[in-house]
C-alpha cells in the first residue's frame, strides 16, 4: 500500500476543514469551528488501479500571531493551498506561506484551490490574479466545499501527480 502525506494549508477560515470533510465524509456544515493544531484523516483513493492511502493533515489556518509550524510539514508529499475566493487577502497569505515552506523545507508539489466558488456574488478574485496563479505552473482549481464542486477532482489530481511523479 502506498501512503502519501498531504498537508492542507491556507489562511484562517478559507475552508480547509470543510474541504477535507467534504472529501473524506461527503459532509458540509455552515458552522465555523476554528481549527487548533492539526487533525489527521485518511482516505484511500484509486490511482490507475493502485490503492493510495492519503493521510490528510488539516492544519490550523495561518494568522499573524499564529503561524503554521513548519515541523508539521516535514515529510509531506504534497500541499493543497486553499484560498478564499471572496477574500483577496487570503491569496497574499497563501504566497507568504509557500515562501516560508520553500525556504525551510524546499519545494513541495502543490496545487491551488480557489474555494467557496458557490459564493459568486461575493467573488473578488479577478482574472489577473487567476492568471498570476496559473503562471506559477501549478494547477489551479475552483472548488466549493459546500456543493462538493471540484473537491474530489482536485484531491485526485494531486494524488495522481504524486504517485506518477
Amino acid at each position: 500500500m502506498i501512503q502519501k502525506k498531504i498537508c492542507i494549508l491556507g489562511a484562517a477560515g478559507v475552508g480547509k476543514t470543510s474541504l477535507t470533510a467534504q472529501f473524506v465524509f461527503s459532509k458540509f456544515s455552515e458552522k465555523y469551528l476554528s481549527s487548533m493544531g492539526v487533525k489527521i484523516d485518511r482516505k484511500t483513493v484509486d490511482v490507475d488501479g493502485k490503492q493510495v492511502n492519503l493521510m490528510l493533515w488539516d492544519i490550523h489556518g495561518e494568522e499573524k500571531y499564529k503561524k503554521i509550524p513548519t515541523s508539521y510539514l516535514r515529510g509531506a508529499s504534497g500541499i493543497m493551498m486553499v484560498i478564499d475566493g471572496t477574500r483577496p487577502a487570503t491569496l497574499e497569505m497563501a504566497q507568504e506561506i509557500l515562501q516560508r515552506v520553500e525556504t525551510e523545507l524546499g519545494t513541495i508539489p502543490h496545487i491551488y484551490l480557489l474555494n467557496k466558488s458557490d459564493l459568486t456574488d461575493a467573488w473578488s478574485i479577478n482574472d489577473d490574479d487567476m492568471q498570476m496563479l496559473k503562471n506559477t505552473g501549478n494547477p489551479v482549481f475552483l472548488t466549493s466545499a459546500k456543493t462538493g464542486d471540484n473537491v474530489e477532482a482536485s484531491f485526485l489530481h494531486l494524488a495522481t501527480a504524486l504517485v506518477t511523479a
Binding site: M1, I2, Q3, K4, K5, G37, V38, I40, D41, R42, V52, N53, M55, W57, P69, S71, Y72, R74, G75, A76, S77, L162
Partner: protein
C-alpha cells in the same frame, strides 16, 4: 496446333522445374510430412516442453492461471477414483500440521482455564466478577487485566519524516483499524510538543501515558518505534525497542532511503517486531503449586451436575405418579369412562365416553399439577346412569328451589323439603322422563299453600326445551308401571292448594276420586272442573253434593 504447343511448353516447363528445384522440392516434401505428422509434433514438443514451461513461468503467471482449472479437475478426478492415493500422499504433511494446530489450541485453552480457575473462588475473584458485570467485559478478560503486570498491545513502526505507518502489530487483531491515523497523530503530537516545550530538536518524547496505558516511543534515524503497553512496562522494554530499531535500520537501509510511501517492503519487519508483543501475569508460579483447587472445582461441577440430574429425575417420577393418580381419579369419576390412553410424541391422548354433566377432566388437571402436560381429550358424549349423574340431570330438568333436597334410592327419586304445589306437579311429571328414575316419592315434601295467581305464572321448567324430546314421548307411552307413591292425604292437600276451595266447601279424596260437597260460586265450580285433573292421582271429580251459591235466590 495450338494445343500441341501448349502441351509441349508445359512439359518443358516441368522439365526445367525439375532441373532447377529438385533438391528444394524434396526438402519441402520432408518438411510437409513433419508438419502433417501428429506423432512427430509430439516428439518435437516433448523435446522443448520443460524448457518452455520454465521460460514462460519466468516472464509471467499466465501459465499457472491457464493450468489451474486442469489441475483442479485432475485432482478431483483422482480423489473420485481413489481417495486413498491422495490421502497417502498428503499424510506426511497433514499429520504434523494438525497435531501442531491442536496442540497450540489446547495450550491456549489450558492457559486461560488455569487463570480463570485460579481466581474464580477467591474473594478477589468475586469482586472481579462484579467488575465484569459492571464493565460488560467477560470475566476471563477482567481476570486477565487484573493479574496483568504488563502487556504490549500494539506496536507501531513509523516513518520518522512523514509519520507514515510502515508496519503495525496488535495483540488483538481486531484493533488495527485506525493504526495509520494513530501513527500520523503520534508524530504530529511529537512535533507539537517538541515545538512548544523542548529547546532543541534532539530531545524527544519517550513516554505518553493515560490511565494504565502507556505509549513508549523510541527514535531511530529514519524510523520511530512506538508501543502501546498496558500495566507497568518493564525497564527493559525501552532497550528491547532500541535493539529492534537498530536491527531494522541496518536491514532496511535501502528501503528506507528509497521510501516513497510504499509500505509493502516493511511487512518483512514483522519478524523483528513480533518479539515486542510480550505480556507478563501475576501468580504464574503459584499456579503449579495447587492443583487441589482445580480438582475441587471439577468435583464441585460434577456435584452440581449430578444433583441437577437427580432433581430432574425426581421431578420426572413425580410427574409420573401425579399422572397415574390423575388417571385413577378420572376412571373413578362418575360419568367418565376411559377407554384408552396413548402416548404420542409427548402428547397423551385420552379417549372414552363422558357424560356432559360429569366433572370436566381438564379442570381436574390443576389438582394434580398437570396443567402443563400436553393432553388431548377425545370423549364421546353419553348419558351415565350413576345415581350422582341421574340426580344432576333430574335437578337440571326440574330446577328444584333451594328449599328442596333430592335423593335417589333404588331408582326412586325422593323429594324432600318445602316447595309449591305447582312446582311439584310439574317436577313429578318431568322427572319421570329421566332415564334411571322409575318412581317418585314426595312424602317428605311439605307443600307451600300457594295463591291462585301463582298457578297462572309460567312454569319454571320449560318442557319444550327438554333435550331429545321425541324419545321422552316414547318412554312416556310405555311407562304405565311408573308410579308416584303419594298418600291420599297428600293428594287431597294438593287438590286444596291448587283449587283453593272457599270455606263453604268440603273435599274428600279416595281412590282417584275427589268428592266435593257444600256451597260454592258457579265460577269456582267451573274452575275446579277444569283444573282438578292437574293434580296427579285425581281421576274423577264428584260434585253431586255441591250446590251452586249463585242459584240461590
Amino acid at each position: 496446333m495450338n494445343t500441341d504447343k501448349t502441351q509441349n511448353s508445359n512439359a518443358s516447363m516441368h522439365e526445367l522445374r525439375k532441373l532447377l528445384f529438385e533438391k528444394e522440392s524434396a526438402r519441402i516434401d520432408k518438411l510437409e510430412s513433419i508438419l502433417l505428422n501428429q506423432g512427430l509434433h509430439a516428439q518435437e514438443v516433448a523435446k522443448v516442453l520443460a524448457e518452455a514451461v520454465e521460460l514462460r513461468n519466468r516472464s509471467d503467471e499466465e501459465l499457472s492461471i491457464a493450468l489451474a482449472p486442469t489441475i483442479e479437475k485432475s485432482i478431483q478426478a483422482s480423489i473420485a477414483r481413489d481417495p486413498q492415493a491422495l490421502s497417502n500422499a498428503l499424510f506426511p504433511v497433514m499429520g504434523p500440521t494438525i497435531r501442531k494446530s491442536i496442540a497450540s489450541t489446547l495450550a491456549a485453552m489450558l492457559q486461560s482455564l488455569n487463570q480463570t480457575l485460579e481466581h474464580s473462588f477467591s474473594k478477589q475473584g468475586f469482586l472481579w466478577r462484579i467488575e465484569a458485570v459492571k464493565t460488560g467485559k467477560s470475566f476471563a478478560e477482567v481476570v486477565l487485566l487484573n493479574t496483568l503486570i504488563y502487556r504490549v498491545e500494539q506496536v507501531f513502526l513509523i516513518h520518522r519524516e512523514t509519520g507514515v505507518l510502515l508496519h503495525h502489530l496488535s495483540s488483538d487483531p481486531t484493533h488495527t483499524e485506525d493504526a495509520d491515523v494513530v501513527s500520523s497523530m503520534l508524530t504530529a503530537v511529537q512535533d507539537f510538543i517538541r515545538d512548544s516545550f523542548a529547546g532543541s530538536t534532539d530531545q524527544n518524547i519517550e513516554t505518553l501515558s493515560m490511565g494504565d496505558v502507556q505509549v513508549l516511543i523510541e527514535q531511530g534515524p529514519d524510523v520511530v518505534l512506538a508501543v502501546v503497553c498496558r500495566g507497568n512496562s518493564p525497564r527493559t522494554l525501552h532497550e528491547t525497542m532500541q535493539v529492534a530499531i537498530e536491527d531494522i535500520q541496518q536491514n532496511f537501509v535501502d528501503e528506507l532511503t528509497a521510501f516513497d510511501g510504499d509500505t509493502e517492503a516493511f511487512i518483512a519487519t514483522d519478524e523483528k517486531l513480533s518479539p515486542l508483543l510480550i505480556a507478563d501475569y501475576k501468580n504464574k508460579t503459584e499456579e503449579k503449586k495447587s492443583p487441589l483447587k482445580a480438582i475441587l472445582f471439577v468435583a464441585l461441577m460434577f456435584a452440581i451436575i449430578f444433583s441437577w440430574w437427580a432433581w430432574h429425575q425426581i421431578e420426572i417420577s413425580q410427574t409420573n405418579t401425579q399422572w397415574q393418580s390423575y388417571l385413577e381419579r378420572l376412571k373413578a369419576e362418575p360419568g367418565i369412562i376411559v377407554t384408552g390412553i396413548s402416548d404420542n410424541d409427548d402428547v397423551e391422548t385420552i379417549t372414552g365416553l363422558r357424560d356432559p354433566l360429569s366433572q370436566d377432566p381438564k379442570a381436574l388437571l390443576a389438582e394434580y399439577q398437570l396443567q402443563n402436560k400436553n393432553i388431548h381429550f377425545e370423549f364421546e358424549p353419553y348419558h351415565a346412569l350413576q345415581p350422582a349423574l341421574i340426580l344432576k340431570r333430574v335437578s337440571r330438568l326440574i330446577q328444584p328451589p333451594k328449599s328442596v333436597e333430592l335423593l335417589l334410592e333404588d331408582q326412586t327419586l325422593l323429594i324432600r323439603g318445602v316447595a309449591s304445589e305447582v312446582w311439584l306437579t310439574q317436577a313429578e311429571q318431568a322427572a319421570l322422563y329421566v332415564a334411571g328414575v322409575e318412581s317418585i316419592d314426595s312424602t317428605g315434601l311439605s307443600i307451600l299453600s300457594s295463591s291462585f295467581e301463582q298457578k297462572q305464572t309460567h312454569f319454571p321448567i320449560k318442557m319444550d326445551a327438554l333435550p331429545v324430546k321425541p324419545k321422552k314421548n316414547i318412554i312416556r307411552k310405555e311407562e304405565p308401571k311408573k308410579k308416584v307413591v303419594v298418600t291420599d292425604a297428600v293428594i287431597l292437600q294438593r287438590a286444596i292448594s291448587l283449587l283453593k276451595p272457599p270455606t263453604t266447601v268440603q273435599m274428600v279424596y279416595a281412590k282417584g276420586i275427589l268428592y266435593v260437597s257444600g256451597k260454592a260460586s258457579a265460577s269456582w265450580i267451573d274452575f275446579a272442573k277444569h283444573n282438578f285433573s292437574k293434580v296427579e292421582g285425581i281421576d274423577s271429580f264428584y260434585t253431586s253434593n255441591l250446590t251452586n251459591q249463585g242459584t240461590k235466590p
